[in-house]
């Protein structure tokens, strides 16, 4: 399939272009609107996301549907895989916008920049999901990173936010620098930036013994550092708890879901398309490396989550753990594995965002992010409390909620490849995880609290949004469409 030229590509590129346009529009609108408290910009960006969504569907079903298209001389690729992630990311962004609308910690005077940045970061993630060339990969990665640094530190006059930003950028810069270094070596060895070529060349070179496996190993490890930092996998996870805790809650939610998903998109493309060949894997047994990393990641994430008192931080660690679960699917080089990852990402989107939304609500009403703040919620705001229970239990992976089905797919895939130990580690981890999720539930339901605490009331809008997350969390597992992702993944695996 011949890559399209730049001009031809533009048409297929309409979603990204739309994003750019709307980002600009948001800034402009922000300039014209006098009333600082107005939420016009927010709605404009929502409209924008809507349009982009439409565009994504159109471009996909009109062009990318039949067989993958390669754009801009093979810089980006339009295929089911990228489309899937685009939709996923759009959902996440939209949710984040809605959160931000309800969140009270954000500074109303900076709305314009805020939403513009959100759109920009979405653009970057789109690219991450679809780029097939080292250059694009690096650029998209940096775009996402830079914007998220800013968003993390978006709360002016809030030391925690600034600290988060500072740590994030320092960490991110070093990580991406390291990755870039690795990329440079890949480029050097393959003599090309295109993942496909890299795969082929490296295979040949290794076969002919012109490059030492060590070089490849180093390169891969460096790349892993960059990717691992995006998906917060041990030992590149340490930024995430601090950043998640410091950043504004909507951004935390966004990072924990969207940027993780984008990271996985990149990861899958990179490793499956780039290092998928058997010779490569003989030279460098990176699946095994990933297996170890994933085991470590979930274990560390879960164990560290146990003693947390701050719910945001607790969820940060839990999302690290989930990164570990997801990585299991990446270990396998099987359509089922990728399919499982995609399924889990969808589920994770809903349950994790839902949980964070509840955190937002409680932070607004109770003004606390601590577990004690959740005391007696069962009677003060029963619906919210029960919703939270559903999210948490689903995160813990207990039937009949979607989280269970996701985990089940992952474990099936893992066992199918014969990684029994990994599956066992994962399962025991999910038992451990139940314990800290249960601590929140306990605070909400089991512990007694001061009776005179007033009951909290929420607007219908709130409940509507909440149900947007609750219903999928309950239903996804029972719907067949969601089990067809393994077909998507086939596209990215060179086999």
């Amino acid at each position: 399939m011949q890559p399209l030229s730049n001009i031809e590509s533009l048409l297929y590129f309409s979603p990204e272009i739309l994003l750019v346009i709307f980002a600009a529009a948001v800034v402009l609108l922000d300039l014209v609107v006098k009333d600082r408290e107005s939420i016009a910009v927010a709605y404009l960006s929502l409209v924008g996301l809507g349009c982009v969504f439409a565009a994504v569907l159109i471009t996909h079903f009109s062009f990318g549907n039949a067989d993958p298209v390669s754009l801009f001389l093979g810089m980006v690729r339009l295929d089911e895989f990228s489309t899937f992630f685009k939709i996923l990311l759009l959902l996440a962004t939209a949710a984040t916008v809605l959160f931000s609308l309800r969140s009270e910690e954000l500074d109303a005077r900076l709305q314009g920049e805020y939403y513009a940045l959100l759109l920009a970061i979405t653009l970057g993630m789109f690219l991450m999901a679809s780029s097939t060339n080292l250059l694009m990969i690096f650029i998209s990665l940096e775009t996402v990173s830079l914007t998220s640094y800013i968003l993390a530190g978006f709360l002016t006059h809030n030391p925690r936010s600034s600290e988060a930003a500072f740590k994030y950028i320092t960490y991110g810069a070093v990580a991406s620098g390291t990755m870039l270094f690795g990329l440079s070596f890949l480029f050097g060895m393959a003599g090309s930036g295109d993942l496909g070529h890299i795969s082929v060349r490296l295979t040949e070179l290794l076969a002919s013994g012109q490059v030492s496996p060590l070089a490849v190993l180093i390169a891969i490890t460096f790349v892993l550092a960059g990717v691992g930092y995006k998906i917060a996998s041990v030992p590149f996870h340490m930024w995430s708890p601090d950043v998640y805790e410091g950043a504004p809650i909507p951004i935390t939610a966004f990072l924990s879901v969207a940027s993780k998903s984008a990271g996985f998109a990149l990861f899958i493309r990179f490793f499956y398309a780039g290092f998928g060949s058997t010779e490569l894997m003989q030279a460098v047994n990176w699946p095994f490396m990933l297996a170890i990393v994933s085991a470590l990641t979930m274990t560390v994430g879960n164990l560290a989550a146990l003693p947390q008192q701050n719910v945001k931080r607790l969820l940060a660690y839990s999302s690290i753990a989930h990164g570990g679960y997801l990585l299991m699917g990446g270990v396998l080089l099987s359509a089922e594995g990728v399919g499982a990852i995609l399924f889990y990402l969808v589920v994770y989107l809903f349950m994790n965002l839902g949980a964070f939304y509840v955190v937002v609500l409680i932070a607004n009403e109770v003004g606390s992010e601590m577990i004690e703040g959740y005391r007696g919620l069962s009677s003060r705001a029963p619906l919210v409390a029960w919703a939270m229970v559903i999210f948490l239990v689903s995160l813990a992976g207990i039937p009949p909620f979607a989280g269970f089905f996701g985990k089940w797919l992952l474990f099936t895939a893992v066992l199918e490849q014969g990684y029994y130990w990994l599956a066992l580690v994962g399962l025991l981890n999910s038992v451990v995880s139940l314990y800290y999720y249960a601590r929140i539930v306990k605070a909400m339901f089991l512990e007694d609290y001061d009776e005179e605490a007033t009951s909290v009331s929420f607007s219908t809008g709130t409940f509507a949004l909440l149900s947007v997350f609750v219903i999928p969390t309950i239903l996804i597992g029972f719907l067949n469409i969601f089990y067809t992702f393994s077909n998507i993944s086939v596209a990215v695996i060179p086999m």
């Binding site: 399962l427 038992v431 249960a438 306990k442 089990y483």
Partner: protein, 508 residues
């Protein structure tokens, strides 16, 4: 259809209850009662219309669910499940009535959770697809956690989470085994072809076919162990039992009833439905009577019996005593199953049902006492016999049934299990009979300490058991007597299924 209706009516009930206003508590209770009575009616209908002459599953519903993994919504009943379904459906309304007065806070949430729990239990006993089976199995965890954790006693949080984690741990191993079975379900002579399946009947036949991966002995042994641990936690079998006393002591009466009456049976039911029927070679490996492993299952049964009984003997908390007695009685089930002959298995199944009824009675009785005296310290009572004769009478009945007095249902199950087990495990069975004596000892001792002797002046004014409580106890009591006098009434429900099972076991 009838079956699906029965399973999901409580779920509908839950939704209805949730929609009701929180203030109108009476209404909530009534609605819940209604929605538990419907399944009971259906269960009775099933019980009557069930064709006793065939072993095959009946009222089968089999519609695809998750095609990608060939998972079906496959339910149906055979003699074993219909019996337990009846038990479940029976205990439902009884528990609702039992909770009528003594649940103070959040009656609405309580009833909703209870209904959810009932759906889970009913579904579990009807499921014929391994995946569905597992989903229902886990579905019971959450409501149970809340029911113990919110409405329980002082150490409820601890007990609840302990129960939750313990069971989850078990079921996680079960999950691995389950997936392993699924993955191997299409492998014949090392080559995989065709669809994989979770369908229990299919799997059973596959596991019996020569050269199939499921029929491989080593595989069977490992998978057997996986499932066994999963169910052993629920039963509970000796090393995994420590959650039970805590859970029972903290749980409110009705929940203890469900816990002892149904949830424990889920474990043993699973053993029969999956471990025995699906992995006969695995079973054989642990019950063939030679060596330590060959006796291990029977040994576990024996340990449960003796250990549970002696622990019960040492208790001074009435509820804890009953809890430990449950452990003892489940031991007879294990022993009977280990025997692998018709007497043993029939006895075991009967014992499941009877223990469900009897332990339910016992916990209800403890509840009655607790509601009046607000403590459960056995030595804190005395001489109640003269104060509340009817209560004493019913308690005596329950105790006698539980210690296996012939003419009451407890005896038949125990006797058959032992008769069956003796054929294979002479020494262990003989030792197990110690349990019979000790059982009598702790029950009679309790009877004496609570009801006999001079009336403890503290309880001069203790009111006699009231009509509502009698209403909850009477059906169980009658069932106890009926099954004691005419056990075939239950046995011929599942005798065919048992014969079927025996054939499977003998096939290897």
């Amino acid at each position: 259809m009838l079956l699906s209706l029965m399973i999901f009516v409580p779920l509908v009930g839950m939704i209805v209850v949730l929609l009701l206003p929180r203030e109108s508590e009476e209404l909530v209770k009534r609605v819940t009662l209604l929605f538990t009575l419907i399944p009971l009616a259906l269960a009775v209908a099933l019980f009557i219309s069930y064709d006793r002459s065939t072993a095959g599953t009946q009222y089968v519903v089999n519609v695809p669910w998750i095609q990608a993994f060939n998972i079906q919504y496959h339910i149906g009943i055979d003699g074993l499940s219909v019996t337990l379904l009846l038990l479940t459906a029976l205990l439902g309304p009884i528990c609702v009535i039992a909770s009528w007065r003594n649940i103070e806070k959040g009656i609405k949430a309580y009833m909703a959770l209870f209904l959810l729990l009932e759906t889970g239990m009913l579904g579990f006993f009807a499921a014929l697809d391994l995946f569905l089976f597992y989903v229902f199995f886990e579905l019971t965890l959450l409501p149970m956690y809340f029911l113990i954790g919110i409405w329980g006693g002082p150490r409820r949080e601890y007990a609840a989470i302990k129960f939750f984690l313990y069971t989850l741990f078990g079921s996680v191993l079960m999950l691995v085994a389950m997936i392993a079975v699924y993955l191997n379900s299409n492998v014949v002579n090392g080559v995989a072809d065709g669809l994989r399946t979770f369908d229990i009947p299919t799997l059973i036949t596959l596991a019996a076919t020569q050269g199939h991966a499921l029929a491989d002995q080593h595989f069977q042994i490992w998978v057997f162990v996986g499932f066994f641990i999963g169910f052993a936690v629920k039963v509970p079998i000796f090393p995994f039992h420590t959650w039970l006393p805590d859970a029972h002591v903290e749980a409110p009466t009705a929940i203890s009833v469900i816990l002892a009456g149904i949830l424990l049976k889920m474990g043993t039911y699973g053993l029969v439905r999956v471990n025995m029927a699906m992995f006969p070679q695995g079973l054989h490996h642990f019950t063939n009577g030679d060596g330590f492993l060959g006796n291990s299952l029977a040994l576990l049964g024996f340990i449960n019996i003796v250990y549970g009984s002696f622990c019960a003997l040492a208790q001074t908390d009435f509820k804890k005593l009953v809890a430990y007695s449950s452990i003892g009685h489940m031991g007879f089930v294990i022993l009977g199953l280990a025997a692998r002959n018709s007497e043993g298995i029939t006895g075991a199944i009967l014992q499941m049902f009877n223990h469900g009824v009897i332990s339910a009675m016992l916990f209800l009785l403890v509840g009655v006492l607790y509601d009046r005296a607000h403590h459960r310290e056995i030595n804190g009572f005395g001489g109640l016999g003269s104060k509340m004769p009817v209560f004493t009478g019913i308690t005596t009945l329950a105790f006698m049934a539980s210690l296996g007095l012939p003419g009451l249902s407890g005896f038949v199950g125990e006797a058959l299990s032992l008769l069956g087990a003796y054929e294979k495990f002479k020494m262990l069975t003989i030792l197990s009979t110690i349990g019979i004596v000790v059982g009598a000892a702790y029950f009679l001792w309790t009877l004496q300490r609570v009801f006999l002797g001079n009336l403890n002046p503290k309880y001069e004014a203790l009111p006699e058991i009231n009509g509502r409580e009698i209403l909850t106890l009477a059906p169980l009591g009658i069932l106890t007597i009926v099954l004691g006098v005419w056990p075939n009434f239950a046995i011929n429900m599942f005798s065919e299924s048992v014969t079927n099972l025996i054939n499977v076991l003998q096939a290897i």
